[in-house]
Amino acid sequence: MMFRTSGIHHITAFVDDAQKNVDFYAGVLGLRLVKKTINFDAPDVYHLYYGNEQGAPGTIITFFPQQNSRRGVIGSGQTGVTVYAVPVGSLPFWKERLASFDIPYENKTRFGEQYIRFFDKGGLLLELVEREGGQPSKWTFNGVTPEHAIKGFGGAVLFSHVPEKTMDVLVSKLGLEQVGEEDGILRLQASGDIGQIIDIQSTGIQRGIGGAGTVHHIAWRAKDYTEHEQIQQDLEQSGYHPTPVIDRQYFNAVYFREPGGILFELATDPPGFARDEPAERMGEKLMLPEWYEPQREQIEQLLPRIEVREWKGESKS
């Protein structure tokens, strides 16, 4: 049985300022902060997760915000653009919304689809595209209602050093299909209805350098633990040198760097974000893995204060 991912599970990036990050992803994009925890390697750094109302796989973007951290350079060897899917007919709403927050955007067209491209406040490249697929988000915040809300990822644009090799891994190991090629961009599709359209680009892109304002890794969905272990073994046998399976509290993870230089992860759909707090209260309390629990007080003092707030933009708040 060949492994076939249904698409993106989550995307993880580095940014500098934590409150700016909350104001953008919750305040501007209207996503739900579904989990507030820490970087297990650096407990004075948050790990923030945003998604739809339940933080379903395919909707989750996660951040490590560290004040005054080195700015990276977006470029090849990285997931270059994070693409969000919005309901059909809602792009005009989003254009108006971005303008009201003084966020400049650019209109783009790929494979006959209209995109708007813009930077978040931390320097990441984002796009919105209208898509039929995916469930409407049930989350309403700061003027974004389910009618216009982001449903999850539309996909991503991968900036690869060697697009053919990146495509080969996605096709032969992760089960995507090539569905198009145009202006040097390869388009692949996974089997799901969200986070499934992946473009690979290399021309005219400088070399990426990791740091604030860049994506660290893109994670692909594995539907259960068995499938996850099988793909780990398959990657191992094929010489991709994946990590062992790592418990990340809300999913299990396996990492490997594909030959185009991009860090990939395979992440399991289970157990999800409601494993350690009730679904309706997710994201409110700082969640710590049990080995950090005795140090909660010190950790909370080290972390900057953040709040999810009804934010109207820099010039209006």
């Binding site: 970087n39 390697d41 490590f64 080195r70 660290h216 040198h241 990590t243």
Partner: protein
């Protein structure tokens, strides 16, 4: 810093500073040092940073993303430690070679980036670029051996090449050795390092 010291066979033998990878100890690379530089003095050091109980030389936020402030502070700390150890144990501070793997190779590279005469030479197994945007000191003639994996999942090939050209650009005499065993430090890589070290007078 927690460490181990063994004097060299002769007074004029070099001292090898051992810098382990994440989760290692001051004893990790002793066997490697004995293979590469038989008869040399040994100063094995344990990293002062703990990542989930695993010793490291400096903090990181994720694979490949370093906490630069911590790296700079820890680089200075390690440099001072080596200076003090030379006085305490009476070895020749100007005849010290670094031998580092992974996280240890990264801090060795960071020391070189900060101070031209910190080592007489360096053997770096699977290093990354420790810092960017630094004006490197004049490294004229500094011999550096870099062992790397073409398919290393932790250090992309281009990053290895970037480090090599940064060092060469500052005047270092860089020898590259490529393997295809991921991030592992293999026997053949160790043998290549030993052969390189023999050519150092």
């Amino acid at each position: 810093m927690k460490h181990i010291y063994k004097a060299g066979a002769q007074a004029d033998a070099p001292t090898i500073l051992l810098l382990h990878g994440t989760g290692g100890t001051e004893n990790d690379l002793i066997g490697l040092a004995e293979m590469i530089a038989p008869g040399a003095g040994i100063l094995g050091v344990r990293g002062n940073v703990s990542e989930n109980g695993m010793p490291r030389f400096f903090r990181r936020l994720a694979e490949g993303i370093f906490d630069e402030e911590d790296l700079i502070a820890r680089t200075a700390e390690l440099g001072s430690f080596v200076d003090a150890a030379a006085v305490e144990y009476g070895f020749d501070r100007s005849n010290v070679y670094a031998l580092g793997y992974s996280n240890g190779a990264n801090i060795a590279a960071s020391l070189i980036f900060h101070q031209a005469d910190v080592f007489k030479g360096a053997i770096l197994h699977h290093p990354m670029v420790p810092l960017r945007g630094l004006e490197l000191p004049d490294l004229k003639g500094l011999p550096v051996f870099i062992g790397a994996g073409e398919n290393d999942p932790i250090v992309p090939r281009l990053e290895t090449e970037e480090l090599s050209s940064l060092l060469s650009g500052a005047g270092a005499d860089v020898t590259m050795h490529w393997e295809r065993q991921g991030h592992q430090l293999t026997r053949t890589e160790a043998e290549a390092a030993a052969a390189w070290f023999k050519t150092q007078g």
